[in-house]
C-alpha cells in the first residue's frame, strides 16, 4: 500500500469540484469568493503534485507557478472583498441574486 500521484490528484480534483459547486450555488457574494479560493488552492495542490512526481529538467517551475498563483489569489481576494463592501454600502445586501439594477 503506497501513496502515488493518483491519490494527490484525486484530492485536488475533489476539492476543485467542491469549490466549483460552492462558487456556482451560493447566494452570498462572500460565499462565492470562498469557492473561488478553494478552486485556486486545489490547482496549487495539483501543480505541486506534478512538480514532485513528474520527471522534468526544471522541477522548480511548478513551485514558481504556485508562488505566482498565490500572489494573484491574494490580489483577487482583496479587490473582490472591497467590491463586496462597496456594494453592501450602496444596496445593504451582498446576495448575488439581488444584484439586478441593470435589469429593465
Amino acid at each position: 500500500m503506497s501513496i502515488g500521484i493518483e491519490h494527490f490528484l484525486t484530492v485536488g480534483a475533489l476539492v476543485f469540484c467542491l469549490g466549483l459547486g460552492i462558487a456556482l450555488s451560493k447566494r452570498n457574494a462572500i460565499g462565492v469568493l470562498m469557492g473561488v479560493e478553494l478552486m485556486l488552492n486545489a490547482v496549487n495542490l495539483t501543480l505541486i503534485t506534478f512538480s514532485r512526481f513528474a520527471t522534468s529538467e526544471r522541477p522548480i517551475a511548478g513551485h514558481t507557478f504556485v508562488v505566482f498563483i498565490i500572489t494573484v489569489a491574494a490580489a483577487e481576494a482583496a479587490v473582490a472583498l472591497a467590491l463586496a463592501v462597496s456594494v453592501y454600502r450602496n444596496r445593504e445586501t451582498v446576495d448575488v441574486d439581488q444584484f439586478n439594477l441593470l435589469r429593465s
Binding site: 476539492v15 479587490v79 453592501y88
Partner: protein, 171 residues
C-alpha cells in the same frame, strides 16, 4: 512514498481537507463556512509538506490562513445587516450537477491514465526557488509586484466611503 507514517498522514490530511471543504458547502452560517475554509487551507498545507514543498507550505499558512482568511472574516463582519445566511440561489441544482459531472470526468481521467512517475523526490528548497524567481522568471516576478500595487490601490479606492473622499478633497 510507502512508509506507514506517510500513508497514515496522507489519509488523515485528505480526510480533513475534503470534510472541511464539504463543510463550506453545507454549513448554513457564513461564519462557520469561513472557519471550515481555514481548516481546508491547513489541510492543503499539510499535503504540501507531504509533497516535500516546505516553503510553499509555509507560504500557504502565512498567506491563506493568515491573510486571506482574516480578510474574508473582516468582509463578513463589515456587512452586518446583509445576513449570515449561507444559502443557495435558485440555480444551485445545475451548478452542483455540473460540479459532480466534472468530478466524475476528473476521477475517470486520473485513474485511467498510466502515469510515469519518479519515486525519489527532487530536492527543491527555498534557495532554488529564489534563484529561479530572480533569474529565469524575473520579468513575471516584477509584473506580480506591479499587480499587487494596483490591487492595493484599487481595493483602497473601492472600499473607502464618499465622506472620506470629500475630506481628502478638502485637505
Amino acid at each position: 512514498m510507502d512508509g506507514g507514517g506517510i500513508v497514515f498522514a496522507f489519509y488523515v490530511l485528505a480526510a480533513v481537507t475534503l470534510i472541511s471543504a464539504a463543510g463550506v458547502l453545507v454549513s448554513r452560517d457564513l461564519l462557520h463556512a469561513v472557519l471550515f475554509l481555514i481548516l481546508t487551507f491547513v489541510g492543503v498545507a499539510g499535503l504540501f509538506v507531504l509533497l516535500s514543498a516546505d516553503f510553499i507550505a509555509m507560504a500557504q499558512v502565512i498567506i491563506y490562513v493568515g491573510a486571506i482568511a482574516v480578510l474574508i472574516l473582516f468582509a463578513v463582519l463589515l456587512t452586518p445587516r446583509a445576513g449570515r445566511n449561507n444559502g443557495e440561489t435558485k440555480f444551485a441544482l445545475p451548478g452542483i450537477l455540473l460540479a459532480v459531472c466534472l468530478a466524475a470526468v476528473f476521477l475517470f481521467v486520473i485513474h485511467d491514465v498510466a502515469w510515469t512517475t519518479n519515486d525519489e523526490a527532487p530536492v527543491l528548497g527555498a534557495d532554488q526557488l529564489g534563484e529561479a524567481l530572480l533569474t529565469t522568471w524575473v520579468l513575471p516576478f516584477e509584473i506580480a509586484s506591479v499587480l499587487l500595487t494596483a490591487a492595493l490601490v484599487g481595493a483602497i479606492m473601492l472600499a473607502r466611503t464618499p465622506q472620506e473622499e470629500a475630506e481628502d478633497a478638502l485637505a
